[in-house]
């Protein structure tokens, strides 16, 4: 769930965002439908995460959630993270900070545990090569090897990695299983895969490819697919799913 202003939004390739609902009532829906986990990321330029309205909304949102909740977007220091845990987050999410200040990951992991730190890896493909993407600069970062970076953040204390393929996001073209495969072979922490999932088959294929955690966005916002239907489909396909 992408949070901007005081609404949820959803877009394509990290742009063209449309209204995707009220954060609190949408959380209520996903919780009732049996989501396994929720991730609410704050995007867009604006005041830092300590904006009072944002924190208030997140606190109300956390109360609606009886599954694990990860909050993030714009976290720059331990205090920012602490405020989100105080709202009721079970985990926090950092992406940019992980590149600029990896020591922050260690700080947060020490205080709250590795399992409470999810680090984001956003990648784009340029001439077939996968590169990290800077959503602020809206540009690829050519001089970092993304897999090395992944290893470093895990060393620093990240408990989970969220891999989001920017080119796939919102396109409905299917998940980036090549990137997933590369990352899964490189680190030993749980990986969450996101970006491009539109059809039910995409999930089936991803689970067969060894993916254990899939994050859905557009599929739930702009279509009639809901978590109940998706899980029933996966169960019918023989996957072990909490349903």
């Amino acid at each position: 769930m992408l949070y901007r202003g005081d609404r949820l939004v959803k877009g394509v390739g990290f742009g063209g965002h449309r209204d995707a609902g009220n954060p609190i009532t949408t959380t209520r829906v996903y919780n009732s439908q049996g989501a396994d986990e929720l991730l609410v990321l704050r995007i867009g330029a604006g005041p830092k995460p300590d904006g009072a309205k944002y924190l208030q909304q997140m606190t109300t949102l956390a109360r609606e959630c009886s599954v694990p909740l990860c909050l993030g977007g714009g976290i720059e220091n331990l205090d920012d993270a602490q405020k989100l845990f105080d709202c009721g987050a079970d985990k926090i999410f950092v992406s940019r900070a992980a590149r600029i200040n990896p020591a922050l990951i260690t700080q947060i992991a020490r205080r709250f545990g590795n399992q409470a730190v999810m680090v984001g890896l956003e990648i784009v493909r340029t001439e077939g090569r996968a590169l990290l993407y800077d959503s602020h600069a809206t540009a690829a970062i050519p001089d970092i090897d993304w897999l090395d970076h992944a290893s470093r953040v895990v060393q620093a204390g990240a408990g989970e990695l969220r891999l989001c393929s920017v080119g796939h996001e919102g396109t409905g073209e299917g998940l980036d299983l090549e990137a997933f495969g590369a990352l899964a072979g490189h680190v030993n922490v749980p990986i969450i895969l996101e970006g491009g999932c539109k059809a039910l088959e995409h999930l089936d294929i991803a689970l067969h490819a060894g993916c254990r955690n899939i994050a859905l966005g557009s599929m739930l916002v702009f279509s009639d697919h809901n978590i109940i239907k998706i899980k029933a489909y996966l169960k019918n396909k023989g996957h072990r799913i909490r349903f």
Binding site: V29, D224, K229, A232
Partner: protein, 398 residues
């Protein structure tokens, strides 16, 4: 496409799963209903509940009422058999048919009940129909949410904490099963009733489409579920009669026909022998047609599957009926398109986006070549109702 080995529901039906024998979860639920439930015990539980509310408030309970067979039976049972004093709450979705209105009048006057009718703003309804069609491929959002939210507000405002609804969804879907109590509460509302969209979400999603009526939060109050805190404080208990007694549509329809002169009606897209089903709404045909376009099965599949599960129909006959009746383009589609001011191509494009795999929506041309032969007897009434919005009529004429 995988289909249940017993009934005819395919894998595209929303909540069902298949077991090792290829039998669907709904068939198994009905087995459970027949063999594993202590109905006498549940009847006692029901007795305890109603006695704890009887006589304490202006009304013993609220009965949300559509006029279909289920709510009519529920009302009859609670008044005639349980001798309760209910407040009947009726949410007018905008498509009520004449025969239904006559049935309802007979029911209310014969039984003797107070009735609270609510008709929401039609311009708001049109906008909601369009947005939910686009987002979910289902235009009935206002109806689903209004029917389940509005009576909760009445319950709070009139201080009548007990609400008694009718049939359990476990009869035909697997959002809930017969071995767990299905309460008509916020969780159920958010799990599937509201299509994953609350009024607070819809408010930010609506734009200038269909009508330039300026919708605000106030306009969406009838579709907003009251806070769980407020309901808990009020001592709200919202239950299904079908959890406490075995639901039997044939038996119940017989009772209300005899006791209240309840009459069935001709409904688009289903065999005439199912005249007791879905008589409430004149765009029911479009609703079922959309289901067919998205999921590859229609209302007939749903109804014959219920009959198969209850030993009333053989699979062979069921298959024949489905071939004959499912998926025909209904006459009411033309009226529906007029209400929203869209072309059939646009409609098809919107719906195709929501196709549930492995089904693929047929083309517009294929659909136009598969029209229902009959136009229902009260079609002129439907036309009149659509034309009563002068804005729509002007658009249609230009």
């Amino acid at each position: 496409m995988k289909t249940c080995k017993r009934c005819l529901l395919p894998e595209t039906a929303e909540s069902i799963t298949f077991d090792g024998e290829g039998v669907c979860s709904v068939c198994r639920q009905i087995e459970h209903k027949k063999k594993k439930i202590n109905w006498a015990e549940r009847a006692e539980q029901f007795e305890k509940i109603i006695e704890s509310f009887r006589g304490r408030f202006d009304y013993d309970c609220i009965v949300p009422f559509s006029g279909g067979k289920d709510s009519t039976y529920t009302l009859w049972y609670l008044v005639k058999i349980k001798k309760l004093k209910p407040l009947v709450v009726r949410f007018d979705h905008g498509f009520l048919r004449e025969n239904l209105q006559e049935n309802s009048l007979r029911t209310f006057r014969t039984l003797g009940v107070d009735v609270h009718n609510f008709t929401p703003n039609w311009q708001v309804v049109r906008k909601l129909m369009y947005e939910s069609l686009v987002r979910r491929g289902d235009f009935c959002w206002h109806c689903h949410t209004g029917i389940f939210s509005y009576p909760m507000w009445v319950s709070l405002q009139c201080n009548v904490p007990l609400l008694i609804w009718g049939e359990p969804t476990a009869e035909y879907a697997s959002f809930y099963s017969y071995d767990e109590e299905e309460e008509v509460n916020e969780r159920r509302f958010n799990a599937f009733v509201n299509l994953g969209i609350n009024a607070e979400d819809m408010l930010g999603m609506l734009d200038g489409s269909v009508s330039d009526y300026p919708v605000t939060a106030r306009d969406l109050k009838p579709y907003t579920y009251p806070s769980s805190m407020a309901l808990q404080k009020n001592g709200t208990k919202s239950i299904l009669l079908g959890y406490y007694q075995p639901w039997d549509v044939k038996q119940q329809t017989k009772i209300i026909s005899e006791e209240l002169g309840w009459k069935g009606d001709e409904v688009e897209g289903i065999p005439p022998e199912y005249s007791y089903e879905k008589i409430e709404c004149f765009v029911q045909g479009v609703r079922d047609y959309i289901k067919y376009l998205k999921r590859g099965f229609g209302r007939t599949t749903h109804l014959v599957s219920i009959d198969i599960r209850n030993g009333r129909l053989s699979r062979e006959t069921a298959v024949d009926l489905v071939a004959k009746f499912d998926g025909k383009r209904p006459a009411s589609l033309d009226l529906f398109l007029k209400i929203l001011g869209i072309t059939e191509e646009k409609f098809q494009e919107i719906v195709a986006h929501h196709a549930v795999s492995p089904h693929e929506t047929p083309s517009c041309g294929e659909c136009r070549g598969n029209c229902a032969g009959k136009i229902p007897h009260d079609f002129p009434n439907w036309e009149k109702m659509v034309a009563s919005d002068l804005g729509t009529r002007a658009k249609a004429d230009s």
